[in-house]
Amino acid sequence: MDELKNVLFTKTHEWVKIEGEIAYVGLSDYAQSQMGDIVFINLEEDDYEVGDTIGDVESVKSVSDIYSPFTGTIVEINSVIFDDPGAINRDPYGTWLCKYENVSDKEEFLTLEEYEEIIKE
């Protein structure tokens, strides 16, 4: 599980990976498996605060909100997820959704072990 090195989680099933000034956000494996085949992602580059709804993920028969784990600016959205949203299902940790800069605040993250406890319930 090399890809999960340095990955932290939110209670709302996003994963985050912080690399210096830049932070990546994606959807956990559990989240994608609950949703089923993902067909579209709504996300917009803008400034957000912790807990803001930054967009949503659509499967054929459901929609789930994505919440901002940071206060900061989304500077880039991964173009892969528009061309091939199924990549999130196949490789959730290799497919980031958006990239943050100017991060001034963040929520309290969970480690992989803590997150796995939560989804067991």
Binding site: V39, N42, E58, S59, K61, V63
Partner: protein
């Protein structure tokens, strides 16, 4: 009399299977105070024959005009027998929204074809499977354009007043502001439009032909609107698209309109259908049902309701529209009409409306005292200033079984001429106008 089926004996057997001896027992658990005792204060049921005759008599309390020169949002066109007949095919009439594609391919395909035809005539990329009517289509289009920063909507004062009033009602609900753009010679005043285009303007809505029948300079208007970064919505008459500039040629972002002209009877205002089509980039904001092409497990082409995550049953309070039922059967009728007339026929019908309307216009303005209100080119409606009160004119026409133009002021009449009118009818109209104005 109800349309229930079962005999007393069968009902008793069914009650027994449910463990009760009387049908009232199934309602025993309703709390006291909520039950209606006795029968409702209405007549008792009647036979089919009695109801038929009663309704027939009621229908005779309406006047049916064999000749109509009135439009203003509802148009009398000739409806081919084939279209009438096909639109009453019972499998189309009595089916529900096609939730189960395996047994609804016919309906889904027909709606997919409808979407394709609407895209053809408007020139747009994507169409939904219809909304309630032309007015609500304009409202839904306006809603598609709103975002966090742009919450005001410009509307030309030349649009149908009924559409404008429905848009104002929706604007009340959405808590947004509608600003009217002034007119010059019955057309959008471009200078006023430029003045009113601010950075918080989400979109501009114009109709072409407009309420007075006039053709707007829709290409130029589009350029002005887009320069401001606002969206451009054109309301159009589908028949006219066989002849005049299409919304896509004017670079519209969204095209909407009232589909009634495409084979739907007047029926005192409804049901009709609203069509909506847009550019590809707005696809996921388009409300209502949308049918998409796909394949089944056997590899065959098939069709499904698609992009459902936009809709209320999934998105609930976050959906941009609550629309669920649409006007499928009317939309299908529109598609049947378009399939029947084809590209050449649609052009012929449009050109015939145009020719007959211009003939009528030229004859009417030859009469003393009848003058055109506007100079601009028109499609199949035009406003005439009349020398006497419009009500007197219409009463006189009514005596001759003609429904005259719509009085839009005491001395202004909005006439409509379609391919369903003949030269003889127009000549008679002109003769009667001469007589009444004497």
């Amino acid at each position: 009399m109800s349309y229930t089926v079962n005999s007393k004996k069968e009902i008793l057997e069914m009650l027994e299977a449910c463990g009760v001896d009387d049908i009232s027992k199934l309602f025993e658990h309703l709390p006291s105070g909520t039950k209606y005792e006795g029968l409702l204060n209405l007549d008792e049921g009647k036979s089919e024959m009695e109801v038929y005759n009663f309704m027939k008599d009621m229908s005779k309390n309406n006047v049916v005009y064999p000749t109509i020169f009135r439009g203003a949002g509802a148009y009398k066109h000739y409806i081919p027998s084939a279209v009438k007949n096909l639109s009453s095919l019972s499998n189309f009439v009595t089916s529900y929204t096609p939730y189960q594609p395996e047994i609804s391919q016919g309906l889904l395909q027909a709606l997919f074809e409808y979407q394709s035809m609407i895209c053809d005539i408007t020139g747009m990329d994507v169409s939904n499977a219809s909304v309630y009517d032309g007015a609500t289509a304009a409202c839904e289009a306006m809603n598609m354009c709103l975002d966090r920063k742009r919450k005001k909507v410009l509307v030309s004062s030349s649009v149908n007043p009924s559409t404008l009033s429905v848009m104002k009602t929706y604007a009340y609900a959405y808590d947004i502001e509608i600003i009217e753009v002034d007119l010059k010679e019955g057309l959008v005043d471009k200078e006023d439009l430029k003045d009113k285009l601010k950075e918080d303007i989400a979109c501009f809505y114009v109709e072409n032909p407009n309420y007075y029948g006039l053709l707007e300079d829709i290409i130029d208007l589009g350029n002005i609107v887009h320069e401001n970064g606002s969206k451009y919505i054109i309301g159009c008459n589908p028949i006219s698209l066989g002849l005049i500039t299409s919304p896509s040629e004017a670079n519209a972002d969204i095209a909407v309109g009232e589909g009634q002209s495409l084979g739907i009877p007047l029926s005192f205002g409804g049901p009709y259908f609203g069509f909506m089509a847009c550019k590809r980039e707005l696809m996921r904001k388009l409300p209502g049902r949308i049918v998409g092409q796909t394949t089944d497990t056997k590899g065959q082409r098939g069709f499904v309701l698609t992009l459902q995550a936009r809709e209320q049953h999934i998105r609930r309070e976050k959906a941009s529209s609550s629309i669920c039922s649409n006007q499928s059967l009317c939309a299908l009728t529109g598609a049947m009409y378009l399939a029947y007339v084809g590209p050449v026929g649609l052009n012929e019908v449009a050109k015939r409306c145009f020719d007959l309307a211009h003939y009528a216009f030229n004859q009417i303005i030859k009469i003393d005292g009848f003058t055109p209100k506007y100079e601009g080119e028109f499609f199949h409606e035009f406003v005439i200033k009349t020398p006497i009160h419009v009500d007197i004119i219409n009463q006189y026409l009514d005596n001759n079984n003609i429904l005259g133009g719509l009085g839009i002021s005491d001395n202004e009449m909005l006439f409509c001429v379609t391919e369903a009118n003949s030269i003889e009818e127009i000549d008679l109209l002109v003769k009667l106008l001469k007589e009444v104005a004497l």
